[in-house]
């Protein structure tokens, strides 16, 4: 089912009676999610992504804007008739019901011609349970399961009624690191097998990048960028998106453009044709550095971290926003560990230039200096 959000805005009245300020959680948000895809909704905590999820599920009504499922306007519909499955961050499994009873719960609510016989319900529940591989725990109470198993039960409960759309709110954040890795692949598999349009919310960019067909980056209720993970990584539209994606994070320098040359400090690092003189932010991905004896950028080298496959040159530069510059280079490169100074050339396709004020990306093709 294709999901379309049209100019969606949600304003919460202020909780505190003294301050009259209201909070805009989601602001003029428009987005189309294609059928059958897995979408990662990404942003720092408090950016309104959970609110967006609640708007899609119908738990909250938008202040303005419309929501469409396929061709149907569902903006004013209560959650139960929208046909969405929702998995909560803390799973919200009913503690007094067994796993099986938890999974059966949504089916028992069906009314009218959708009503199922006891037999049909059990079949569906078993099907969902085996899809998430928890068939052996059906008679247990949620408190007798591990976090990962509870998570699976929650997914089974959301899937059992064959929702048109599956919504997951921070599905992995309550799991430990190892389990998280395993579960996210599991999530990918389940989504592929069922083909249900799935939207999941996360603040972990690595998680979103690794399994999503598309990621949606939002900040303070505003949509910043949407696209395939690699595309967003390679072509961030602004400084925020560039900083938010990638580990280690992008290295940001204060710089300026002077007669079509990109300057950091007194060194001109790249040539930028057609850009007028101005102050800019320069973002360089860690893999965007080429160590070079007479490189254009001079940094003070602090340490070399050897990782095996590649290594990191840790350095610093007075105009760099990050405390440390991290440059990832192939371990075959020769670098001197005791050197006080590191010189780099910058890869033009790994270097992004942003307006100093707005942080918007300046579209230009930087090229190495002639």
């Amino acid at each position: 089912m294709e999901v379309t959000l049209q100019n969606l805005t949600k304003i919460f009245p202020s909780r505190n009676r003294k301050s009259k300020e209201s909070v805009t959680a989601v602001s003029d948000f428009s987005l189309t999610i294609p059928d059958g895809k897995l979408i990662g909704l990404l942003g720092p905590s408090g950016c309104g992504k959970s609110t967006l999820l609640n708007l899609i599920s119908g738990l909250e009504k938008p202040t303005s804007g419309r929501i469409f499922f396929g061709g149907d306007d569902v903006t004013e519909l209560p959650p139960e008739v929208r046909g969405v499955g929702l998995v909560f961050q803390n799973y919200a499994l009913y503690p007094h019901l067994t796993v099986l009873q938890n999974i059966l719960f949504p089916l028992e609510n069906l009314k009218g011609d959708k009503k199922l016989t006891k037999q049909q319900m059990l079949e569906k529940a078993n099907e969902a349970a085996s899809l998430v591989q928890i068939s052996e725990y059906l008679e247990r109470k949620p408190s007798q399961l591990s976090g990962g198993q509870q998570q699976r039960v929650a997914i089974a409960r959301a899937l059992v009624k064959m929702p048109k759309i599956l919504l997951l709110d921070e599905p992995l954040s309550n799991l430990d690191a190892r389990l998280r890795l395993q579960t996210r692949e599991e999530l990918r598999r389940i989504q592929r097998e069922t083909g249900i349009t799935t939207i999941f919310v996360t603040h972990d960019q690595e998680e979103a990048m690794s399994i999503s067909d598309m990621i949606v980056v939002m900040k303070e209720g505003v949509l910043n960028q949407i696209g395939r993970p690699q595309d967003v990584y390679d072509e961030p539209v602004n400084l925020f998106v560039a900083k938010f994606l990638g580990t280690p994070p992008i290295n940001v320098f204060r710089g300026r453009v002077e007669s079509e040359r990109l300057m950091i400090g007194n060194e001109s690092v790249l040539e930028v044709k057609g850009v007028s003189d101005r102050e800019v932010w320069i973002g360089v991905r860690p893999e965007g550095f080429i160590p070079c004896e007479n490189g254009t950028l001079t940094c003070a080298q602090t340490a070399i971290e050897v990782m095996g496959r590649d290594m990191t040159v840790v350095a610093s530069h007075p105009d760099c926003e990050n405390a440390n510059i991290r440059a990832i280079i192939s371990s075959e490169m020769k670098v001197c560990e005791s050197a006080k100074e590191a010189r780099f050339d910058l890869k033009p396709n790994k270097t992004f230039i942003f307006e100093a004020g707005s942080g918007e990306r300046i579209a230009c093709g930087p090229v190495p200096l002639a």
Binding site: D72, D73, V74, E76, L77, P78, V81
Partner: protein
């Protein structure tokens, strides 16, 4: 489902929500009136004059000629002021004694290590289950035998301890980290000083709660004062008002009686309105009435 189905569901959803809200508020308001009405009625009756009250065969909802006559009567023709002072004395002394006894005991249980601590504490907890009705018979005999009927000692002594408050305070004291105690010991602070200078200030919210609950309990206590006093000079407000009802004001002077009721009710209501949060929190932590 097509468009019209959606519209129908939308409309039904909105309407049912409105109806639910209206019903909820109506219901809540009805009960609020049920709660407030007796208070309104007692104030109303207390400002009606004796003659106008008695001439209203069908009671009126407003006082046409409000008077404070009844309040003057309440303080002059019956010893209401006496009952009032007695209750204040009783409440203050009982609460103060209770506080000393329970704080000391709670401190011992929470902070000090001694042999038999667990057994003694279990016995204390077991006492929580004993209904006061069982022990009151012997206490009545004891106090009578000691010749303390119609005295403040007789009223106060059996009302001093409360195992529940010891328990409540002990739980609270135990939440203070051990490091504070060790730090104080290193600085050469005595146990008693540690209790008064560190533990009590830290646990002040709980102590205030306990004090307020005890005050409410004292102000409303009826059975014990009724048993142990038959001299009006030692009556508290509860048995005082009962005395007023049965033998006060000569003729059945209901407005004057209501004035007395208002006077008795006001202190606790004021206390409640000031410490609303604390009282409700304290009560929900386990204090049952009576």
């Amino acid at each position: 489902m097509d468009r019209s189905d959606y519209d129908r569901i939308e409309r039904r959803d909105r309407r049912s929500q409105r109806i639910r809200k209206t019903v909820t508020y109506t219901l809540l308001t009805v009960w609020a009136i049920m709660v407030l009405f007796p208070f309104y009625w007692m104030v109303l009756t207390s400002i009606k004059s004796y003659s106008s009250y008695n001439s209203e065969y069908v009671p009126k909802f407003i006082a046409e000629a409000p008077t404070i006559r009844n309040y003057i009567d309440a303080f002059t023709t019956v010893p209401l002021a006496r009952y009032f002072t007695n209750t204040i004395i009783f409440t203050l002394i009982t609460t103060a004694l209770m506080l000393v006894v329970t704080v000391l005991a709670a401190f011992a249980f929470a902070r000090l290590e001694f042999r038999g601590k667990n057994i003694v504490f279990t016995l204390f907890l077991a006492l929580m289950m004993i209904p006061s009705e069982l022990v009151i018979i012997t206490n009545f005999q004891t106090i009578t035998d000691l010749g303390m009927r119609n005295t403040f000692q007789g009223l106060i002594l059996p009302s001093v301890t409360s195992v529940f408050y010891i328990y409540l305070l002990k739980e609270n004291f135990e939440q203070i980290p051990d490091e504070l105690y060790k730090a104080a010991k290193v600085d050469g602070t005595s146990d008693l000083k540690y209790l008064t200078k560190v533990m009590i200030p830290i646990c002040r919210p709980t102590i205030i709660t306990v004090v307020i609950l005890k005050i409410i309990e004292c102000w409303n206590s009826y059975v014990w004062p009724r048993l142990i006093t038959d001299d009006q000079a030692y009556f508290l407000v509860s048995n005082g008002i009962q005395e007023i009802r049965e033998n006060g004001f000569g003729r059945e002077n209901i407005p004057a009686m209501m004035a007395a009721v208002v006077v008795i009710s006001v202190p606790l209501i004021v206390l409640f309105l000031i410490f609303r949060r604390k009282i409700m929190e304290g009560v929900s932590r386990g204090g049952t009435k009576g």
